[in-house]
Symmetry: C2
Subunit: 568 residues, 2 copies
Amino acid sequence: MAQKIFLKHGNDKETVRLFPLGGIGNVTKNMYVYEYCIDGQIVDILIVDCGIGFPDEAMYGVDLVIPDVTYLLNKKEKIRGLILTHGHDDHIGALPYVLPRLPHFPIYGTKLTAAFAQLKLKEFGVNSQIREITTSDTISLGKFSIKSAHVTHSIPDAANFIIKTPIGVFYHGSDFKFDLTPIDGFPSELGKIAAAGEAGVLCTLSDSLGSERSGYTLSERVIENTLEEELRNCGGKFLFTTQSSNISRIQQAINVGLRHHRKIAFLGRSMEQNTEVARKLKYLNFPDEMLIHDKQLLRYQDNQLFLIVAGSQGQADSGLFRIARGEHKYVKIREGDVVVLSADPIPGNENAVHALVDTLTQAGARVSYSEVLEGLHVSGHGSQQDLRLMLSLTKPKYILPIGGTYRHMIAYKKLAMSMGYSKDQILIPEEGQIMEFSQTSHPRLVERIETDQIMVDGLGVGDVGEIVLRDRKTLAKEGIMVIVVPVEESTGRITSTPDIISRGFVYMKESGKLVDQVKRVVVQSLKPHKAGISDWHFIRRTIEEQVGKFLFKETGRRPLVVPVVVEV
Amino acid sequence: MAQKIFLKHGNDKETVRLFPLGGIGNVTKNMYVYEYCIDGQIVDILIVDCGIGFPDEAMYGVDLVIPDVTYLLNKKEKIRGLILTHGHDDHIGALPYVLPRLPHFPIYGTKLTAAFAQLKLKEFGVNSQIREITTSDTISLGKFSIKSAHVTHSIPDAANFIIKTPIGVFYHGSDFKFDLTPIDGFPSELGKIAAAGEAGVLCTLSDSLGSERSGYTLSERVIENTLEEELRNCGGKFLFTTQSSNISRIQQAINVGLRHHRKIAFLGRSMEQNTEVARKLKYLNFPDEMLIHDKQLLRYQDNQLFLIVAGSQGQADSGLFRIARGEHKYVKIREGDVVVLSADPIPGNENAVHALVDTLTQAGARVSYSEVLEGLHVSGHGSQQDLRLMLSLTKPKYILPIGGTYRHMIAYKKLAMSMGYSKDQILIPEEGQIMEFSQTSHPRLVERIETDQIMVDGLGVGDVGEIVLRDRKTLAKEGIMVIVVPVEESTGRITSTPDIISRGFVYMKESGKLVDQVKRVVVQSLKPHKAGISDWHFIRRTIEEQVGKFLFKETGRRPLVVPVVVEV
């Protein structure tokens, strides 16, 4: 239900057009485009973030999803730069896929954000440099003038952006919460945000993911007490997992470990990589001599070890699940070990995380997870009270909820309306709609752009589409039966019994009778045309129909039936 | 980690052996076997429940899972009867699959349980009669003497069983909570349960699903106030969904609807069937004239309608999702409609339920669901305080936590130990292990039985196994490529270019170059054998290897490669 109210045509000379390339109502795959236009002609383009999305259940075999930048391709030369809000994959992860399709332009991020983005580019061999900005810098990109405001989130060095344009200021309020007692001692820059509000904000884009949660989001600091308590009751190894980008939480874990004189080890690729970067940049601090590597683990007693392990989402190939299954080279779970899962499952991962808990428990560990212990995880996203505070500080004329699905945007709208905002001040665009702002008129929804789901599967980017996915769905649920029909080229007559190959349908070795029946159905279905047909297409369709019908009657299943006519 | 403590060999003449056929650590697929033995020889077998399980994510295309009754087949004549605790599918749903493989024996259930089970059997054309028992009956089955104790749960007429055997009493405490203010006015029979405890219980099997939750489970009654409040703020249609077996909750919804003089309609097959049965048996009560059928809906104003719809788990083909997508013949969502989801997502269904909320919201409805409103759902399973009360009432010598996964069993064990039970009084057997009880010795874990996952897919029961699932997994993620190689029968030489058929791998129409390359790889890989080979198996393996390697290099994917050699 789009707001149908932005119909009035603006006749302003200057406009700013704003839209997400990652789709409306998306938590991940963040990529926003700001266009400064004169007389409807694009003059400058600014891009904010470039993140990956995660495949939904229907995207069989897809590794990840990236924003669709097709729209930008024929206006490449207008792009003045790209700014990154923070170092999470859903904000920087698509850079290696997207940058090679676009010309070189400056890319900015705060210290840690730039380092994480650079790591990502290096991994893919993409040769772009991320420029480091501090919170006092002002970046000028065409007619856009940008200041960052530091905000607290579940990764250090996160920023919101105050984007000044010729028609007004946009507050780009990507992922944030107001942690008033942050671990790194660097609270959100409330003064700067408030000053922007005082000076006048045309539109605030606000994180809306926490809009269903009442109250405010707890400070990250609560975790340390919980960990302290857990470690005190641990006589064996202590294993800790969280998302590997959550540097503040990892720092807290380390603090606890060090207090108990345990050696620290990082296990799992993402955990090792991220902590190495964060350590180099001093976002993670502890004495060198306390860090040990996996090969050294066996030299220590269990109760001297504090292991920080990747795999908080129950990923089957993660370090933690390999440990749980007894497949890790240096770490075996023993009675007395404690495993602390300090992360909530991302929706869809609940069963995987529960399987991890079960496997660890069966291996003998005591496992602490959110269902049995409070204070193990706090969100990085603001709850209703944080979101209200952001609106109170920025006092925008218009509001665009971002970073949530449709239901979060609607909950956010309700919250904003409870603060006195009217319906038409809150923008809930439809998929692909561009919002046009000007100095004097109401924002209006103008042209629609088409954005596709660009899926990455293995090395392929965008070569998996609807047809392939539809086939995979059928293959996943029902399997396939290939029928090879040898046909005499000149007459179209079957020369011998068809060959049947089936995978994922029934166990062939035990289905001899069914296979024989199918062969009969094939021969039978071509009988009316005994004289022979040369229309292979017709033959294929007939076989497909007849065999499909027969198999459904016999088995209640509808495998893909693929007839192959071989001319002999 | 099984308890390794039950090693002492009993030398008692009489024993009772107990084990689940649905597997240890299962929430669903409930089926328990009690065997009374003399000198190790089975004399009488009693079965409790016969439910379906739900496929996990790795069981591609599987509709449901049933208990493996192979063990029973060669001792059929010892089965004295089957008793059903309550009418949920995971306790009665496998009857139509299992009964045809076993001889006729008496089957018992309370009124509503019997009716729901009978409905299930009728649907499958299975000709068995369920005998109705009341709470004052005693059933004698061989040496087993059984009384039921009514307990409250999320379906009326739920029962626990007090099973008297020659060696002691088993309290079969299947799914329950202690709702002290139940909707149907029929509270749990605490007196009867306590009396059993006073007389002495050898072993209590207890629901453990809620063992992670502190406190006690709220009464079902809290729902009605929430609904009243929601309906008061609804100017359009009111749509309510919950699990269709939750008759008490449906009664509460109806109460609210009637107070506001709205007509009641049931939509969706399971909802219509279950409510019809419950109405006939007077478990659901309201004036006939208030019920309307879907075809009559259009005769009423939106604000006269109270629709009770199936689909609370976000099932794509359910009534509610069809309404959300605008595909329902008689119900279209309009601005002003309110949809209330009165059920928590079963783990794994979270994303489906969220998609339902998003789709309904986008269609214009205001949706109430657990993230935004409390008091919409209460569990049917007891929390820690309920579980403690059950132990306090039955005061068993031994305890077997059931109805939960491994982590629930461990949480239950912790709870029981906090009440003074010792480790070896709490039985946590390994998969397939039989627990043997006797009058004088400790229960011991005796022989292991093998139980398989029996999967139902379409009309097939048990014909989908590991191999088919493994293929489906590959097909789902990577697709398939079939390579038809025409070979001269006598010489083994390729006679013409191979045919390539691929589904779910890449979009063939746009992959001409890749296909050509594959053809070359096939021809090339057989070159060293230009003289011809007659070992088709060898040819197939070579092609599979070479093409697989090539495709992975080119695409990073590993589709199933299936070479078909056609002799010409």
